[in-house]
């Protein structure tokens, strides 16, 4: 199979980055029936928009022990503590969703990573609640903490959806199929079917 010389461009046009991610996130929530408030959905879109900028790729989350980062955040005094907890929660959420395979290849247990991310958000939420007169008031970060694994799955779906959208050549579709074989991603499976392919895993039977 060869790559066509006149392959269409893979540049997505949108007036701003939130425009680009908004519909992708909304579609994933609707398709999978994720239980996210509008506020949380908007936060995730804004998070993705932030991470498109250079220097925001969560390098620290990928390169340093997460327990160390959480401990450092918890030991940080004053207003900076909230920000470090939020950034850590964001980083873990983003990396777990977009680079989950990378973490697993490093031998990191996804549940453990998610627990750390949820802890970071939960502590950020606790700092917010301390200021509110109503200590049990609902807030965005408690939602992100309580449903952390669901939000990781949401970002993983978004990542797969973006990969599927960018697969515009035969070679890219084959790679998408190979990725579907490895991950069993429903999003990729749907994308393959939309291209007229019926993704089927080998049954081991001899024909």
């Amino acid at each position: 199979m060869t790559e066509p010389k006149d392959a269409p461009p893979t540049i997505e046009m949108a007036s701003n980055v939130s425009d680009f991610f908004g519909p992708v996130v909304a579609d994933a929530i609707k398709a999978r029936g994720y239980d996210a408030t509008d506020a949380a959905e908007a936060y995730v879109v804004a998070l993705l928009a932030d991470y498109t900028r250079p220097g925001q790729l969560g390098e620290e989350t990928l390169s340093r022990p997460l327990t160390l980062l959480l401990d450092e955040a918890m030991q940080t005094p004053g207003p900076e503590r909230f920000e470090r907890l939020r950034v850590l929660g964001d980083g873990v959420l983003y990396v777990s969703g977009f680079f989950g395979e990378h973490l697993e290849n490093r031998g990191v247990e996804p549940r453990y990573v998610s627990a750390l991310g949820a802890t970071a958000y939960e502590n950020a939420s606790a700092m917010l609640r301390q200021r509110a007169k109503d200590q049990n008031a609902p807030d965005l970060f408690s939602e992100l903490a309580e449903k952390f694994r669901m939000f990781v799955r949401l970002l993983a779906d978004v990542a797969e959806s973006l990969r599927a959208r960018s697969a515009r050549t035969d070679g890219a579709v084959v790679k998408m199929y190979e990725r579907w074989l490895r991950t069993g991603s429903t999003t990729l499976g749907d994308a393959l079917m939309a291209r007229g392919m019926m993704p089927v895993r080998g049954s081991g039977l001899v024909h």
């Binding site: 007036s15 506020a39 932030d50 909230f82 917010l128």
Partner: protein, 197 residues
């Protein structure tokens, strides 16, 4: 401008546009300028020929936590940010649809938007919390302008009308439709809808 500002600005813009079913306006982040230490939120507009120049001036925030509102108990910094984004989105929408906008409309819509974002886009608030939020936003308020000034009268009227309008939204099945109708209404219709509450 800091990352927390970016995140909150974009989140608030997205939530407002989604609630009211608006076409996407330009990214508000590109129009924000940071003001001085004691400045307040200000939307600066300048119309020249067919062009509309917009800048949203926001005060700096020392504590990033103030930019994230619990759905009950928002900070002054968060409320100023919401007011600014509300003005920005409203002006952009009215310019897009080539309709005029008055300062009272802007203030009234912003007062409504604060309650809508806190009460209806996050985890549901029980009636007690919803009532407490209404009290915080509309009853226990302090005005920077005296009651006998034009600005003072406008802010008080916007506050009063918004309080009446949002009070009847909780629990209504047609809440979203009512909000969208209110958003697209001009000044006279907005006042009529609010006073009908």
């Amino acid at each position: 401008m800091s990352d927390p500002h970016h995140r909150t600005l974009r989140s608030v813009q997205l939530e407002i546009e989604r609630v009211y079913g608006l076409e996407r306006a330009p990214d508000v982040v590109d129009f924000v300028r940071m003001g001085g230490e004691s400045s307040r939120e200000t939307l600066v507009l300048r119309q020249r020929d067919d062009e509309l120049e917009i800048a949203l001036v926001l005060p700096p925030v020392k504590d990033p936590a103030e930019l994230t509102a619990p759905h009950y108990g928002p900070s002054d910094a968060w409320l100023q940010l919401v007011e600014g984004v509300s003005h920005f989105v409203y002006v952009a929408e009215r310019a897009r649809t080539q309709l005029p906008a008055t300062r009272l409309e802007l203030e009234l819509q912003a007062e409504v938007d604060k309650f809508v974002l806190l009460a209806f886009t996050g985890a549901p608030l029980d009636p007690e919390r919803s009532s407490a939020l209404h009290d915080q936003l509309y009853e226990r308020v302090r005005y920077l302008h005296a009651a006998d000034t034009e600005d003072g009268q406008r802010y008080r009227m916007a506050n009063d009308l918004a309080a009446r309008f949002v009070a009847r939204l909780s629990g209504r099945e047609d809440r979203l439709r009512t909000l969208r109708r209110f958003y697209r209404a001009g000044q006279a219709e907005k006042i009529r809808l609010a006073r009908a509450a």
